[in-house]
């Protein structure tokens, strides 16, 4: 096997595409714990990482996995873990720690039907809010939502790039369907892939946790004597657990460095959003139904448009607001009991009616026919 597969068309599984993308970005460390439907990422990287001089290790649980990933990132390497809902639960505390210590890393959550053990092998999209609010305290998350094997590749690369650019943990919010399906993927040449690496400090720099929006990040063992802590700290990394100003400055900066760049991070596929009667906002596997549903609707002369969210967090408010200004109604199909729906409703803020379309259990996708029925029903009720 070559270091990186040649640019070509392949027939890959989503989890394989994600793992290969991680290698393409230069990820050299993976730690994980077996869980359906994410285990293929661990298996694939356990084979591939040693071939490129990297390390894959199965830890004793998910807390250890993400802990090792954060440790690895502080050696200057790119690192990743992959899990599903129950494991994602266990990682939440460390995600907060990675956010607070400004540690770039990628966490893949291949969603399955929860809560709890739920339907372990079936698809769900119930971790949308968990990926935003899973850890405690005030924080901002970046989460991306792929809807194909191609995007499992592309958005994994993007996840690493955003993690490195903003020095923050990034979540690839995949789901069982996009992770397990096999389909065509057009692999670019490794040279053509844009890769962002964290900014390193200059030799005499001492402030790795402040002053700038995204401070430079040293590695351990480079002589910087870096003090890393999840407790409130000043720009030098020194704990300040009683001073209200230090806490306010730190936590506001950590949130602002993401929120102030929400539009830059925002990524979506849009269609006919400025001239539609019915708008659809969808993401992940569910969004695979919109293309056919829109085709059927257009054949019936219903002007339909959509936003397919590739970035879920920070929520792409601008695009959603624009659609709310145009569309008479917005339908939000998702495989959960209303999660993105409330976000859309919040942003639409009464400009238009937001209609939920939810389906859970058994891993059954919302079909194009079901979505079209909802479109038709919305027009009739209009």
């Amino acid at each position: 096997m070559k270091k990186f597969p040649e640019a070509n068309t392949y027939f890959w599984q989503g989890n394989e595409a994600c793992a290969e993308a991680a290698l393409a970005t230069g990820c050299r460390f993976f730690a994980g714990y077996p869980i359906t439907p994410a285990s293929e990422i661990a298996e694939y990287l356990s084979k591939r990482l040693p071939q490129v001089g990297g390390i894959a290790i199965q830890m004793e649980d998910e807390m250890a996995s993400i802990g090792a990933v954060v440790g690895a990132s502080w050696t200057g390497n790119k690192a990743m873990t992959a899990t599903s809902g129950p494991g994602f639960d266990l990682m939440q505390e460390t995600i907060g720690w990675a956010f607070m210590t400004e540690t770039p890393c990628v966490i893949v959550d291949v969603q399955r039907a929860g809560p709890s053990t739920g339907q372990a092998t079936k698809c769900g999209q119930g971790d949308v809010m968990q990926s935003r609010w899973g850890t405690h305290g005030d924080y901002s998350a970046i989460a991306l939502s792929p809807n194909s094997v191609q995007e499992m590749f592309e958005l994994t690369i993007k996840a690493f790039n955003l993690a490195e650019k903003y020095r923050t943990p990034v979540i690839l919010l995949a789901d069982e369907i996009v992770a397990h399906m096999r389909e065509r993927i057009i692999l670019p040449s490794s040279e053509s892939i844009e890769i962002i690496n964290r900014r390193k400090p200059k030799p005499n720099e001492k402030t790795f946790f402040g002053l700038e929006e995204v401070p430079p990040m040293p590695s351990v063992g480079e002589g910087f004597n870096v003090a890393v802590t999840g407790s409130t700290h000043n720009e030098y990394g020194i704990r300040f657990t009683a001073d209200p100003t230090v806490h306010k400055q730190l936590v506001e900066r950590l949130n602002n460095k993401i929120q102030n760049h929400a539009e830059e991070i925002a990524d979506s596929e849009t269609y006919n959003t400025d001239d539609c009667q019915i708008g659809i906002i969808s993401f992940g596997c569910t969004s695979r139904a919109i293309y056919e549903a829109v085709e059927i609707a257009e054949a019936k002369r219903i002007k339909t448009g959509y936003i397919r969210l590739k970035t879920i967090w920070p929520f792409p408010e601008k695009a959603v607001r624009q659609l709310a200004e145009t569309a008479e109604k917005i339908i939000v199909p998702e495989m959960n009991l209303r999660q993105i729906f409330y976000e859309v409703q919040r942003v639409a803020n009464g400009l238009t009616e937001v209609i939920p379309l939810n389906k859970i259990g058994g891993g059954e996708l919302i079909t194009p026919e079901e979505l079209f029925e909802k479109i038709q029903e919305s027009v009739k009720n209009g």
Binding site: I57, A64, G71, V220, G221, V228, T229, G230
Partner: protein, 277 residues
């Protein structure tokens, strides 16, 4: 080595957080003395990981070094990620008994099983000191704590014996009443490979001592001295006679393939196999 030991050389000029009489200072001093006597002018070859608890503040942020102050119980996993990618650095974990063998126990066992090349120094004060003196997995049977007001109804864990069973390369236990033995043990362990565990039984006069009848730190140190027996002495005693005794000494010193060795050998083999195909 010719230069006299100065603890300040290794410490940031910021106030230490420990209560008067805290054993953490003895452990800090023993470690830095060990480092000094081994000839390390500074701590640039070290990375320190610690969790949550008073003793996790020994290195972080006080040592002039790279220090990673992690979550409660997760210092060993973080140290795993660091050590595997920077095998050239000496990775040392400091933590309390609640941190290392309470919430973080699973990581402790697995790191010993893997023979991960790190040194874990556990300051065992037999209580959750930072949170005000609650019962710990190491609290002596019948000892009164804030969450065992009628005395602890549980038996304490012997983390040193556990580390031996799990596969550690080096295990020792001393108390803060044995600073020299502690320092010598640290010198030995710093120079070794594989998983090394040193337990420093330590006094917490604030959150433990005063509740179990000790007037001050001095009385606790006296208690340590009087109740300490060596591993050899312990061999001839039965379970009952051993109750309440602190067994000190080197529990094991052995050579086993370490995780860094086996993982890098695996990488080498994988690359070779890959080239052949």
């Amino acid at each position: 080595m010719d230069e006299p030991f100065s603890i300040r050389k290794y410490l940031r000029p910021i106030p230490l957080p420990f209560c008067p009489g805290c054993g953490g200072l003895t452990v800090m001093s023993a470690f830095l003395r060990a480092v000094h006597e081994l000839g390390h002018e500074n701590l640039s070859n070290f990375v320190f990981c610690s969790g949550i608890g008073c003793s996790s503040w020994i290195p972080s942020p006080h040592f002039i070094a790279d220090s990673v102050h992690t979550l409660h119980g997760r210092s060993i996993p973080v140290a795993t990620g660091i050590k595997l990618l920077r095998p050239d650095l000496n990775v040392v974990v400091f933590g309390g008994d609640g941190d290392i063998v309470g919430i973080g126990l699973s990581h402790f066992i697995h790191a010993a099983r893997r023979n991960l090349d790190i040194l874990v120094i556990m300051v065992n004060n037999m209580v959750y000191g930072m949170t005000g003196g609650q019962v710990a997995p190491t609290t002596p049977f019948k000892a009164k704590t804030t969450t065992t007001p009628y005395g602890s109804f549980e038996h304490p864990l012997d983390a040193a014996r556990l580390a031996v069973t799990a596969g550690a390369s080096y295990v020792s236990r001393w108390t803060t009443a044995h600073p020299n033995e502690l320092k010598e043990s640290m010198k030995n362990a710093i120079e070794m490979k594989g998983f090394r565990y040193i337990e420093a039984v330590s006094q917490c006069p604030t959150a433990f001592g005063r509740r179990v009848g000790f007037k001050d730190a001095g009385e606790m140190l006296k208690w340590f001295k009087e109740n300490t027996i060596t591993i050899k002495q312990a061999e001839s005693l039965n379970e009952e006679d051993l109750t309440g005794k602190i067994i000190v000494g080197e529990f094991v010193q052995r050579q086993r393939p370490t995780l860094v060795e086996t993982i890098y050998k695996t990488i080498e083999e994988a690359q070779k196999e890959n080239e052949e195909n």
